[in-house]
């Protein structure tokens, strides 16, 4: 006979988060979550550059300061491109969004330059 797990509605979000961490959708944070992760998730071949730990002793830290910013700019540019294709009579909500995108991009560009 199969075991039935019962829980209250309010506990469900915690349950889902526990599951996501156990399955590697988010970082495992308890030993139990890590144990499930280690057992359930298959291995991946390690890239060649990491076969020895020399990069650690050379202290070669990676910095990735603009990847999210690039994504945001791509989204903003995409909105502009869609609007441009649609032609002249743009609804007010699109015009407002274009204005907002432009202002966001400008303020972030200014912030990055400081």
């Amino acid at each position: 006979m199969k075991k039935i797990t019962e829980m209250h509605d309010a506990e469900f979000e915690h349950y889902v988060n526990n599951g996501l961490k156990s399955l590697g959708y988010a970082f495992p944070e308890t030993d139990d979550q890590m144990s499930v992760f280690e057992k359930k998730v298959g291995t991946q071949p390690l890239p060649k550059e990491f076969q020895t730990p020399d990069f650690v002793f050379n202290n070669e830290r990676k910095v990735r300061s603009i990847s999210y910013q690039n994504q945001l700019n791509e989204v903003a540019e995409s909105n502009w491109a869609i609007a441009a294709r649609d032609g002249k009579d743009l609804p007010n909500e699109i015009l407002n969004q274009m204005k907002k995108d432009k202002e966001n991009a400008r303020s972030k560009k200014d912030g990055a330059a400081k």
Binding site: T5, H8, L23, E29, F57, R64
Partner: protein, 220 residues
């Protein structure tokens, strides 16, 4: 690292993780011994750490996930070498502690922080606080794991990103960092209220999927 001096690395092969961390902590006084100790530790856990980095970054909605996984692996490996002495085996097993370091490193990589603020980072590591098992933690059965995986895959890209971002950063008393909240708002050109609705809708879909595909029963 000088190959001649690495000849006797194997002499440390039977050392425990804690003994290796102790040798690493003397890297200023005896760099060679510290590097030998780390080499043993690295080979012991490199596959495990890479699996974690690769798996997590595969779920990050960025254009170059494998490159991100490599950067995360590299920075986490360096942090482990520098801060191994903060590990406390009474609080967690070593892979759980490494996962916590990787989480902090990913946040640094993605949040666009230009300067590596070492004091702030060290504080996270020294805290070495690993979530205790909650009384509300349910035993996660195999059928539920499969149902959860299928449920996540059935979500839209936006729902997936919202729910995974919250799961990554928000838990119990911990709130979603302001930078990550703003990232979601900007990326989807939406409001905080709408993000909450997307999250709520995604949870509802997951719940319906798990209940209909596993032995889980929700009590109203």
């Amino acid at each position: 690292m000088d190959k001649e001096l690495l000849k006797d690395v194997d002499s440390l092969a039977n050392y425990s993780d804690e003994e290796l961390f102790l040798l690493m902590s003397y890297r200023d006084e005896n760099a060679m011994e510290a590097q030998k100790a780390y080499t043993i530790f690295f080979h012991r856990y490199k596959d495990s750490l890479w699996k974690l980095c690769f798996c997590i970054c595969s779920n990050c909605n960025t254009p170059e996930n494998e490159e991100l996984a490599k950067d995360l692996f590299q920075n986490t490996s360096i942090a482990i070498y520098n801060y191994g002495h903060t590990f406390d085996p009474k609080k967690s097993k070593v892979t759980t502690w490494m996962s916590r370091i990787a989480k902090s490193e990913l946040y640094h990589l993605l949040s666009g922080i230009k300067e590596y603020r070492i004091d702030e980072h060290l504080a996270v590591l020294l805290e070495n606080k690993v979530d205790e098992k909650s009384e509300n933690d349910f035993e996660f059965q195999s059928s539920e794991q499969e149902a959860l995986q299928a449920a996540i895959e059935s979500l839209t890209e936006r729902e997936q990103e919202v729910i995974l971002t919250y799961a990554m950063y928000e838990d119990g008393k911990k709130q979603l960092p302001a930078e990550m909240r703003q990232y979601l708002l900007d990326k989807y050109n939406t409001t905080q209220l709408n993000i909450q609705q997307i999250k709520s809708r995604a949870h509802k879909k997951i719940k319906e999927h798990i209940v209909s595909h596993s032995n889980l029963s929700i009590i109203k």
